[in-house]
């Protein structure tokens, strides 16, 4: 059984397209490469506004945290946006342990995520 499944969808806010990545399973050293490759492909297509839906994400390791830190910085520099949505209590704690809750745009609601995207980009 695949440890990581990524489903890609689309939304819109203020007439701007937003890519929604539904990330299910585990992001760790063995699966982060797949996430990196899929994300790189999306960026090559010109997409720069992203919502990551973590509702079915069971675990994220430091490899995954590093990926999101790098991409959040890149999104800011390129006038894009990256929002993390629906973190479970365990996943939220993994961000909290390194004092990273303020570093990211994190929300529990899709409407709030769309608002954050519109404000950030």
């Amino acid at each position: 059984m695949a440890k990581l499944a990524i489903e890609i969808g689309a939304k819109e806010a203020n007439g701007q397209p937003i890519t929604v990545l539904d990330v299910d399973g585990i992001i760790d050293g063995s699966t982060v490469i797949e996430l990196e490759e899929r994300f790189e492909q999306l960026k090559k297509e010109g997409r720069n506004r992203f919502i990551f839906d973590f509702k079915d994400l069971e675990y994220i390791s430091s490899a995954g945290i590093g990926f999101f830190m790098k991409e959040a910085d890149a999104a800011k520099e390129q006038r894009g946006a990256l929002v993390l949505m629906h973190l479970s209590p365990r996943v939220n704690r993994i961000f909290e342990l390194l004092d990273l809750l303020d570093f990211f745009h994190i929300t529990d609601s899709e409407s709030d995520a769309l608002t954050k995207i519109a404000q950030a980009s």
């Binding site: 760790d28 675990y59 430091s62 945290i65 342990l97 004092d99 303020d102 570093f103």
Partner: protein, 151 residues
Amino acid sequence: MNVSIKLSLPSDMTLISTIRQFVGQVVRERGFEEEAAHDVEIALSEALTNVVEHGYPPNPAHRVDVACDIDLDKCLLTLRDEGKVFDPLTAKIPPITEQRRERDFHLGTFYIKRCMDEIHYSSRGGVNTLVMTRFRHRPVRTPPQLARTKR
């Protein structure tokens, strides 16, 4: 009743999540509260990743031994490997704010230090031993200061 688990694993990144989940389940079933059990899972996962990713060249023929000993007071995790020496207590790892410009982050060591109450590392005769302790009930302590990372 005390519980001891001993595993010998190939140096294979794809096995780490399975081992993490298994040990986490055992720790919870021994009555550790959620935060403590989660800390054990995180530290074990990060320590194993350090060995597989940085300790050995890519080759599952290398092995790492994992022991988990649980008693009334604590969970003791012991990792033994024969790879490169990597002491999380003395490794020179830049603060998180400085790592943001690098391609690769080294955040695993921060997690190990945050999650576990005691950490010991030794290397003798080509064998590296990392021992990490998480107490069932943690005394109130001030967490180590990490550089705050704000957007």
